[in-house]
Symmetry: D2
C-alpha cells in the first residue's frame, strides 16, 4: 500500500455521519485517489455514543469533544455532520489549524456567519467542501455540460422544486429543523434546489417568495404532551430571476404528502430542454426538436457519464444515494491533494444561504428582493 495516508476526523455519527464514514471506507476501491483515507477519530455528544460510533463505523479512536478531534495531529480532514449550530465553531477552529474541512449543509445558521466562515477559510487558504451531494450525480453533470455547451440553446425558463414529506405529519416533533435559527423547509431543502439551480444556470439575481406554515405547533421533542409554536415555513413558493436572463419558479416543501425526494426541475432552452427528478436519479430527460420525432429522450446513466463508470461497467445498473457521497469524497481528496479546486466551497455555500435569506426577506416585505 504505497499511497500516502490521510487522517479523517468525523464529528457526528447520525445518518450523515454514517454516510461520510461509508464513503471514506469505499472511495479508494472505486476511485484512483491520491491518498488513502484512514478513519482516525470520531467525535460524538457523549463518550458512550462516540465509542459505539467508532465500533460501528470503524474509527480507530473516539472522543466526546470536537475540540480534541480538531486538535488531533493525526487528523488531516475534519468532516462535520454535527447539528447546524455547531458548524461555525468547529469549522472556524479547524480553519485555524489549517486542516481541510468537509461540512454538511446548511453551512451556518445565518448568511452572515456563513460569510464569516468563507472569509476565514479564504484568508487561511484552507480547502473547504460543502455536502451538496446531489450535484455529484453524473446526470446533473451531463445536464450542466449540455447547458454550458449551448446544446439546448439559450435558457429561458426554470421550474424547480425540492419536495419531501418528512414533516407532513402535524405531529412530527420540533427539532433543529423547526428552530427559527436557520430552520424551515426553505433553508433545509430549498437550499438543495437553489444550489442546483446555481450550479446549472448561474447566480439568481432577484427573488419574491411566499412562505407558508401549515402546522403552527409541533410536539416538544422529548415530551409529546407539550406543543411548541412553529415559526418556520413548511412550504415556500418563489419566483426567481437569474443573472443570465432566465427566470422561473422554485418550491421548497417538506409537507409534500406524496413526495419523498422530488428534487426536480425542467430547464427550457430555445433549442431544447432538460428534465430531471431525484426520484429517478439515474435518468435525464433530454428534449430534441426533430420534425416528426420530437420528444423527451430518457437517457440512462452509464459509463459515458463520468464518474458512473467507477461504480458499474454498463448502463442500467444504477448508482444510489450513498454513491453520490463517495463521488463527493473523491472530489474532497483530490482537492485536499491540491489536484483540483474544491467546489462547492464555503463561498458558494454562503451564496446559497444569501439567496435563502433574500427569499425570507421578500416574504416579509411582500416585494421583490435583489439577492
Amino acid at each position: 500500500m504505497s499511497k500516502s495516508e490521510v487522517g479523517i476526523g468525523l464529528v457526528g455519527s447520525g445518518f450523515m455521519g454514517r454516510c461520510h464514514a461509508n464513503a471514506f471506507r469505499s472511495v479508494s476501491g472505486l476511485f484512483d485517489v491520491a491518498c488513502e483515507p484512514v478513519l482516525r477519530v470520531i467525535a460524538d455528544a457523549t463518550p458512550e455514543l462516540a465509542a459505539q460510533a467508532a465500533r460501528n463505523l470503524g474509527f480507530a479512536r473516539c472522543t466526546d469533544s470536537w475540540k480534541v478531534l480538531v486538535a488531533d495531529e493525526e487528523v488531516d480532514i475534519v468532516a462535520i455532520t454535527a447539528p447546524n449550530v455547531l458548524h461555525a465553531p468547529i469549522a472556524l477552529a479547524a480553519i485555524e489549524t489549517g486542516k481541510t474541512i468537509y461540512c454538511e449543509k446548511p453551512l451556518a445558521t445565518t448568511a452572515a456567519i456563513a460569510l464569516e466562515m468563507a472569509e476565514a477559510a479564504e484568508a487561511a487558504n484552507v480547502v473547504t467542501l460543502v455536502g451538496f451531494n446531489f450535484l455529484r450525480n453524473p446526470m446533473i453533470g451531463l445536464a450542466r455540460e449540455m447547458i454550458s455547451s449551448g446544446e439546448i440553446g439559450e435558457v429561458t425558463g426554470f421550474r424547480g422544486r425540492h419536495a419531501e414529506n418528512y414533516m407532513s405529519d402535524p405531529d412530527a416533533p420540533h427539532s433543529f429543523r423547526t428552530d427559527p435559527q436557520g430552520g424551515g423547509a426553505l433553508a433545509d431543502i430549498g437550499s438543495h434546489i437553489i444550489s442546483m439551480a446555481r450550479y446549472l444556470l448561474g447566480p439568481i439575481s432577484d427573488v419574491q417568495a411566499d412562505c407558508r406554515t401549515f402546522h403552527t405547533t409541533r410536539p416538544e421533542c422529548f415530551d409529546s404532551t407539550k406543543r411548541l409554536p412553529v415559526e418556520v415555513d413548511d412550504m415556500t413558493h418563489a419566483l426567481v430571476r437569474f443573472e443570465s436572463g432566465a427566470s422561473g419558479s422554485l418550491e421548497a416543501n417538506w409537507a409534500a404528502t406524496a413526495r419523498t425526494m422530488d428534487l426536480s426541475w425542467e430547464i427550457t432552452g430555445t433549442k431544447g430542454a432538460l428534465a430531471f427528478s431525484q426520484e429517478r436519479m439515474n435518468e435525464l430527460k433530454v428534449f430534441s426538436n426533430i420534425p416528426g420525432r420530437s420528444g423527451y429522450t430518457r437517457i440512462e446513466a452509464g459509463p459515458s457519464h463520468p464518474p458512473y463508470g467507477r461504480f458499474c461497467p454498463a448502463p442500467g445498473h444504477h448508482i444510489g444515494f450513498n454513491d453520490l457521497k463517495v463521488i463527493e469524497v473523491a472530489e474532497l481528496l483530490a482537492a485536499h491533494a491540491g489536484i483540483t479546486n474544491a467546489s462547492p466551497d464555503f463561498r458558494e455555500a454562503y451564496e446559497v444561504q444569501k439567496t435563502v435569506e433574500a427569499m425570507q426577506v421578500s416574504n416579509v416585505s411582500r416585494q421583490w428582493v435583489v439577492v
Copy 2:
C-alpha cells in the same frame, strides 16, 4: 325521430369551428340529449369561406354576416369561435335575441368587457357557456370530487402550469395571439390553468406574477420580411393564494420548447395528493398514504368516471380531445333545455379574466395584487 330540434348557428370555421361542428353532429348518438341539434347556419368572413365551411361541416345554410346568423329565427344556439375581438359584439347581439350562447375563451379582450357581457346575459336571463373544454375531462371531475369530499384532506399546495411550444419559434408570426389586446401566453393558455385551479380549489385571492417576453419581434403575418414588436408575454410565472388558504405557483408558457400540452398540476392535501397532466389526459394519479405501500396510483379513465361510459364501454380505450368538446356540447344542450345550470358561464369566464389581469398588474407593480 320524436326529439325536438334545436337550431345551431356557428360563427367561425377554423379549428374550433370544426370542433364545435363535430361535437354537434356526434352528441346525440352518444348522449341522451333533450333535443337534437341541427346544423342550420354557419357564418364566416367571406361568402366563399362560408360556403366552403357549410359544405365541409354539414350546415344547411351559410352567410358572411354574423348579424344575419344571430338574427336568424331558426337559430336557437349561437356558437362563437370567431376572433376574440368579436366575441363581445356577437354575444351582446345574441343576448338581445334571448338565444343561448356558447362562446370560446377568452370571453373578451378585457375583464371589463367580460363583466359587461356577463351582466347583460344575467339581466336577460340567457344561458351562456364558455369553452373551457379541459374541465370536461372525467379525470378532472374525479379530482374535483375527491377534493370536495375531503378524500385528500385539507388542500395546502397547488403547483400548476399550462405549457406549450406553439410560439417557441421566434419566427412564428404575429397574430391575434400576440396582439396587446388580450393576447399573450397568460391570457391565451394561462386562462386554462386558472380556470382549472378555480374549478378544483375555488377562487384565487392574491397574485404576484413575473411576465417575460423572449421574442421581442415577430414577422408580420402576411409579409414575413417585416417584423413587428411584441409586447405580450411568452412566459409568466406567478405565485397564487387561494381563498381556501391553499397557495402555490402557476405558469403559462407558449415557448416551452419541450411541451405540447402540459396543462398539468399537483395538488397536495394533508392526507393525500393528486397529479394530472393533459399530456396523459386519460390518467389521474392519486396518492394514498398506506404504510409500506404508499405511492401514486395511476388511475385510468373508465366507466366509473362519468361520462366516460358514453364513449367507451371499458377503461383503457381512451377518450380524446374532441370528445371533451362533445361532453361540453351535451352540457350545453342540457342547460339550453333548462335541465341543468350551464357552467362555466360568462360570469365565471369574467372571474378568470379578472385573475389574468390582476397578474398582469402585479407584473408591472412588482407587488402582490388582490384579485
Copy 3:
C-alpha cells in the same frame, strides 16, 4: 351539399354498433370524403330494439331482419356488428348483392369459414374491410413506416401482448366470448395483437402456444345460479417466428387483473427499437443509439403523423378510441369510392384467423405448428 350520398345499413346496435354510427356521422366533418354517408337502415334482434337504436343513433329506418337490410336498395354499405356467428351469413348475402361490407372482427367462427367468405368476396369483386381498428392509430402508422424504411435496421425480436381484465372475475358470465365456437382470449383479443404483428412485421410462419383456462366454470348468462363449463382459454402465451426471420413471443390474456388495454409490443431492430402500448395510445417510443444520449424518445402524436391533423391542429391534444373508428370509416369510404384498396380485407382477416387456429392446434399437439 353537392357530394354524392352513400347509404349505410348497420346490423347490430351494441357498443360496436354505436361506434360505427358515430363514425359515419362524424367522418365527413373531419375528412375530405368522396361521398357523404347517410344513415339509412339499422337492424337489430327485435322491432323494439331496432326502433330504439334508430332513434338513438339517428337512422332513418329500422328492421328486425338483417336480410331486409341487406336487400334494401338504398343501402350501399353493409356494416356488421352482429354476434360473430352471424358474420358469415350476413356477409355472404351482402356479397351476393355486390355491396361493400364493413365487418367487425373476428371475421368468422372458424378459419375455414373466413376463407370461404374471403374467396366469395374476391370472386364477386366486392370491397371488404374488417374492423381491426387499432391499426388505424397514427403512431402505428409511424411505426410501420419506420420499420419498412429500415430506420431501426433489420428486425430481430418481437414481444407483444394484448392483455385486459374484463374476464378476470370468475363470475363474469358465459357469453359468445366463452363459446367454444370461436371464443377464448386468443381468438377474441389475441387476434388484435396478431393482426398488428402482421401489419408491422409481415406473416407469422411458425407458432407454439400454451393455452390456459383458469376459470373452468362460469355462470349462465340469464341464470347466475347455474354454472356452465368453460373450455376456451383465459390466457395464452405463444412463441412466434416470422417469415422475415424475426421471432419472439405473444400473449393474449383476458384475465390480466391489472390491465385494461395492454395491447403493447416492443420491436427490436439491429439499429433501433420501437415500443408501444394502447394504454398510452398517443405515444410511440423510439430508441436511437446516440453515444451518451441513447434512450427511448417518447414521441407524441401530432400533425406530422397523418391523419392526426384531421382531428387536432397540434400535438398534445390526443385522439381517442372512437377517432380510430372514424379513420377506419374514412378508409372504408375511400375504398368504396375506388380510390384506395381496402385493408385489412376479408383475406387478411382470414390469415389472422388461420394463425389463431395454428396456435390452438399447437397447444393440443404440444409441438410447433407451421401456419
Copy 4:
C-alpha cells in the same frame, strides 16, 4: 474493535471482483455484522495483475495462484469471480478445506458439474452462496412477501425478461460469454430471470424455448481481423409452466438494442398484480382493485422495506447496484456465522442451471421438456 475478524480471499479482480471488494469494505459500517471482514488475499492471473489489484482494492496480500489462496490459513471465505470455467475447480478445492464459498453465477459450465459442486458442498457441510444479486433488492423482497401472503391472490400469469444490449453490436468480440461451454444469452442473463422467477413463484416444471443466433460470427478477441463462428443464442424466448400452476413466458436477450437492464416481470394474480423492472430498481408497481380507483401504485423503496433502512433513512434516496452486493455480503457473513441459512446456495444455482439446460434441449427437440 471487539468483533471477531473473518479473512476474505478473493479470486478475480474484474468488475465483479471490485464489487465484492467494495461490499466487504463497506458492509460492517452499514450492517450489524457478526464478524468483521478483513481483506487478506487476492488472486489474479499474473503476479502483476494480482499486485495491482491488491493495491487498488485494499488487500493485504496477493498471489497468482488461486490454489495458494484457497490453502491460505488466514482465508475463511473464498470469493470466486474468476471465469466460469474455473468456478468448479476452485469451489471443489475450497470445499475440501471446509471454507465458506461465495461464487458468482453461473455456478458451472454445465448443470452436471453444478450438481457435483452442490453435492460436494452438502456432503462437506460448507456454507455456499451464489451471487444472484438482483434477488437482494428490497423491492423483490416486498414482492415475494406479497405473493406468499396471498395479497395478490393465486398467481396465474408470469411474463419475465432479462434484456440488455451489450452484445447487440455484431462486432462485439468472442469471449467466455460466447463460448459454447456455458455461454449464450440464456445462460448468461436468462439465469437471472429464471432465478428470480423461482424465488418469487417456485420451481419451473415445463419449458419450451426458441433460441436464436443473429450474429453468427464475431471477431476473435485479440485479433479483430479474424472472425469465429458463434453457436450460442443471442435471444431466447421460452414458454414456462410452474409447479404452482402458474404459467407464462420468459425472454433472455443480450442483443436487445434499446435495453440496458430490463430484468423485468409482471406477475398476475387473481386479486392483484405486481410489476418490476431493474431499470427502475427502487420501484415496485402494485395493482389493487378498488372500484373507481384501480391502478398500479408506484411504491418507492424506503425503510419499510428492509434492509433499505441500512443505507438511507427515508424513501426517495435510492440504493444502487453496488448496494445489492453489500446486502448479499451481509447475508453471506450471517450464514458464515451460522445465524442464517445461505440462499441461494449451490443447490439452488444447480436448479437454475438445470432449467437453462432444459430450455436448450427443448430448442433442439422443438418440444416441451420437463425440467
